[in-house]
Structure formats: structure tokens, C-alpha cells
């Protein structure tokens, strides 16, 4: 089947280095994911959307709440690193300079109290 938006799919595959066509929708990635309660689409659904070339995946909340915990990666029987696909989708948005968070939303006390690794990783993942 031809993907709806082939260019989109090709970019995600290229940036993530993952062959999403290997996915057979077993759902193992979703069952181990700690963030599903906050997601609109399950991780396995996101993979399906990329397979089909559905660019709506970029609008999904899922890609922004993913913590890059690699639980999906260790569970996938097809060897797909779903976390890499999440990153590719975030990058496609961030590279157009659409930031998801801003430190301006934090109080000076919060900034002082948070460990640097929390702030730096948060900015690395959610801003361009």
C-alpha cells in the first residue's frame, strides 16, 4: 500500500534509522510504556501512523510526553526502537522552531531547586 504522505514517512525513517514497516502491531511497546495515560495515541498507533504516512502524527500529544525511557525498545519483538521514532517526529516539529516549553513558565525558586540535568534534558527534548 502506498503511504499517504511518502515524503513524511521517508523523513521519519531516515531520521530515526528505524524500519517501521517491520511493525506487526503486537502492542508490546504500548503495554510497557509508563506514559500512556497522558497520550492521545498509543506508541504502537504512532508507529502505524508513520507506516501509513499519516502526517497527523506530528500533531499528537504522545510525542511530547514520551520520556525516552526505552521500555518500548527492549520489548519490541521486531527490533524497532520506538523511542527513536518519537525523537524523529519531535525533531520534524522542533526544526521549524515550534518550542513546546519555555523556562519563562518556571518561578525563580523552581529553577533554583531543579537539578541541572532536569532542565537541560527538558530543553533538549522540547525546544529547538
Amino acid at each position: 500500500m502506498e503511504p499517504e504522505n511518502k515524503h513524511f514517512k521517508d523523513r521519519v525513517v531516515e531520521l530515526s534509522g528505524e524500519n517501521v514497516d517491520l511493525c506487526f502491531q503486537c502492542g508490546a511497546c504500548s503495554s510497557g510504556c509508563p506514559m500512556t495515560q497522558e497520550m492521545d495515541y498509543l506508541p504502537s498507533k504512532i508507529i502505524r501512523m508513520v507506516q501509513l504516512g499519516l502526517e497527523e502524527a506530528l500533531e499528537s500529544k504522545t510525542i511530547w510526553v514520551c520520556t525516552t525511557c526505552f521500555n518500548c525498545e527492549v520489548r519490541c519483538p521486531r527490533g524497532i526502537d520506538v523511542a527513536n521514532v518519537m525523537e524523529a517526529l519531535r525533531q520534524l516539529v522542533l526544526r521549524r522552531k515550534y518550542d513546546r516549553v519555555s523556562l519563562d513558565e518556571l518561578s525563580p525558586e523552581e529553577i533554583r531547586e531543579l537539578p541541572q540535568i532536569a532542565i537541560v534534558s527538558n530543553q533538549r527534548k522540547l525546544t529547538a
Binding site: 531547586e113 541541572q116 534534558s121
Partner: protein, 300 residues
């Protein structure tokens, strides 16, 4: 004394000073001198996953180059570098792998660093401190124990980046025992619980406080129900989300009972009887000392 290069990373100098202090003191007791390279920089905290990214590998690789300089100058005894923070460990180790496995990016990274005195060889080995201890032997750790932690029930919390992705971690991804082995060498009893490898919410702590508090609640409650007196971690972000952020958990779950979270090296310092300064429990929230006094492991 064996001289080993040590990459602290940013948070070990601030929020996690107790992790650093307890590590330096206990390592010395075991005959290891930790040597910090000059002019190290932040590793970037997260490994860059995009296949086309070069820029974010410069920071980690530059740190490894500093280690190589130390080694070339004969100031350390091996081409290894030890890390404490799980995020630094993961980031340095994975960038090193990219450098060694992707010749195209290796060249680009080197080109970006052409003004450095030496060219990075790719030969520095990135270790976590737990691996150094395992390599030395748990018997050696046991020999240093003067105050065995008998009667203390500890839940080892691995989190994510010490074990994943596959092929990166300090131990078997599915069935790790390294923390248990270490804690048992100190005389403590370890308590297994299902969420010991579940994510604490990580960097979402910055903008999704409530969600992270919910995750922390699940992890802490499960450890407590399994009979643990405290949790042990090797990551300053896990420590923050599970420890100081218990204040958020309490707001959302009024019946929640607080439980201490400490770094594994702090329990080593306690078991080695190295004194209050080395164990550095004043840096922990909630305070683990009342519990440790109750257990007769810490003097009044």
C-alpha cells in the same frame, strides 16, 4: 592507589553533592583515587537520537578527549572514565559508540575539533561506578564494611538509563542484579518490586509536575508495600523525582507515607563507618537519619 579518571557532570556539583562526596570517600577507602579532568563540560544530558545529528555529540566526545589527555599525561592508570549520574553515563557511552561505529560522523566530529591538541582516538572506555565496584569484586567491598547494614531493607531502583537501551546498560537489561549484589555486600537485605525499572518521569518533572508525582507515587508505594525501609538509586534525576518531589506526592495523596531515597554510595559510606560528612545524609529529602538511628545503624 589506582588513579581513575572521573567525569562528575553538572548535577554532582550541586543537587547531588551528597552523591559525589560519598563516592569520593568510599572509593578512596577501596584504594581508588578519582581524578577529574580539567575543563570538562556538560555532556548534554540526553543522547542525540537523530541519525543526522553531529553537533550534540561534540560535548560528550570533547569530555572523552579530556580523559584521553589525562591518560596520555600519565595522570591516570587507564583509558577508562567513571561516571556516577546515569544520564552522563548513557550519553557519554552512546556518543562514544556513534563515534566508533559511524565513520562519516566520526570524521565530522573530528573536523569540528581540529583545534584541539590531540585527536580523539575513540579508545576511552566509559564506565559507571557500579561497574568499577563489580570489577573490583564484591568481596573487596565486603572487607571494607565495619558497620554492616543488618536489618535494613532496601529497594534498589534502577530506573531507565542504567539499563536501557539494550547493549548500553551496566547489567542484564531484563534481570539486573548489580545493585542487589552491592547492597548485599554491605549487609543490607534487598527487596524486589515490580517498578524498580519503571521510569520516574524524567525531564517531564520540569513542566508536568503532577504527572511525575503520580509516577513517583506508584513507584514509592510499591516499594513500601514490598517491605522496603528505603529506596536506593544511582541517578540524580531519579533521586529528585522520588525524593524531594515527595512534597508534590503528599499534596496529591494525603495518606501517602514518606520513604527515604538515598544514593548507593551513601549506604557504602555508612557501612564503611566513614562518618557523617562522607555519608552526607543532610542533603537528602526526606531525611533518612531518623530511620537509620531507629535501626541502630547511625549514632544519635
Amino acid at each position: 592507589m589506582t588513579r581513575l579518571a572521573y567525569y562528575p557532570g553538572c548535577t554532582l556539583k550541586t543537587n547531588a553533592k551528597n552523591f559525589e562526596d560519598s563516592t569520593i570517600a568510599t572509593a578512596e577507602k577501596l584504594g581508588i583515587e578519582l581524578v577529574e579532568p580539567e575543563r570538562w563540560n556538560c555532556c548534554g544530558t540526553v543522547h542525540s537520537l537523530s541519525t543526522d545529528d553531529v553537533m550534540h555529540h561534540l560535548a560528550p566526545i570533547r569530555n572523552l578527549l579530556r580523559v584521553e589527555e589525562l591518560s596520555n599525561a600519565g595522570e591516570v592508570d587507564s583509558k577508562q572514565v567513571v561516571t556516577l549520574c546515569a544520564m552522563c553515563y548513557n550519553t557519554l557511552k552512546r556518543s562514544n559508540m556513534v563515534f566508533n561505529e559511524d565513520s562519516d560522523r566520526k570524521k565530522k566530529i573530528r573536523d569540528n575539533m581540529y583545534k584541539e591538541d590531540i585527536e580523539y582516538s575513540g579508545n576511552v572506555e566509559v564506565l559507571h561506578h557500579l561497574e568499577v565496584l563489580r570489577e573490583m569484586g564484591w568481596d573487596k567491598v565486603k572487607e571494607a564494611v565495619a558497620n554492616p547494614l543488618n536489618g535494613l531493607k532496601v529497594a534498589p531502583y534502577y530506573g531507565c538509563l542504567l539499563l536501557r537501551p539494550r547493549g548500553i546498560g551496566v547489567d542484564d537489561t531484563d534481570d539486573p542484579t548489580i545493585m542487589e549484589d552491592m547492597l548485599e555486600a554491605l549487609g543490607a537485605e534487598t527487596v524486589g518490586f515490580a517498578y524498580s525499572q519503571k521510569c520516574c518521569g524524567s525531564y517531564n518533572a520540569v513542566h508536568m509536575k503532577e504527572v511525575v508525582a503520580d509516577l513517583a507515587h506508584k513507584i514509592l508505594k510499591q516499594a513500601e508495600e514490598a517491605g522496603a525501609d528505603m529506596l536506593v538509586t544511582a541517578c540524580p534525576l531519579c533521586e529528585y523525582n522520588l525524593g524531594p518531589r515527595q512534597s508534590e506526592v503528599e499534596k496529591r495523596y494525603p495518606v501517602f507515607k514518606s520513604i527515604p531515597v538515598v544514593y548507593f554510595t551513601q549506604l557504602m559510606a555508612l557501612a564503611f563507618s566513614l562518618g557523617e560528612e562522607a555519608a552526607a545524609f543532610t542533603g537528602n529529602k526526606p531525611d533518612p537519619r531518623p530511620l537509620l538511628r531507629d535501626k541502630g545503624l547511625l549514632e544519635e
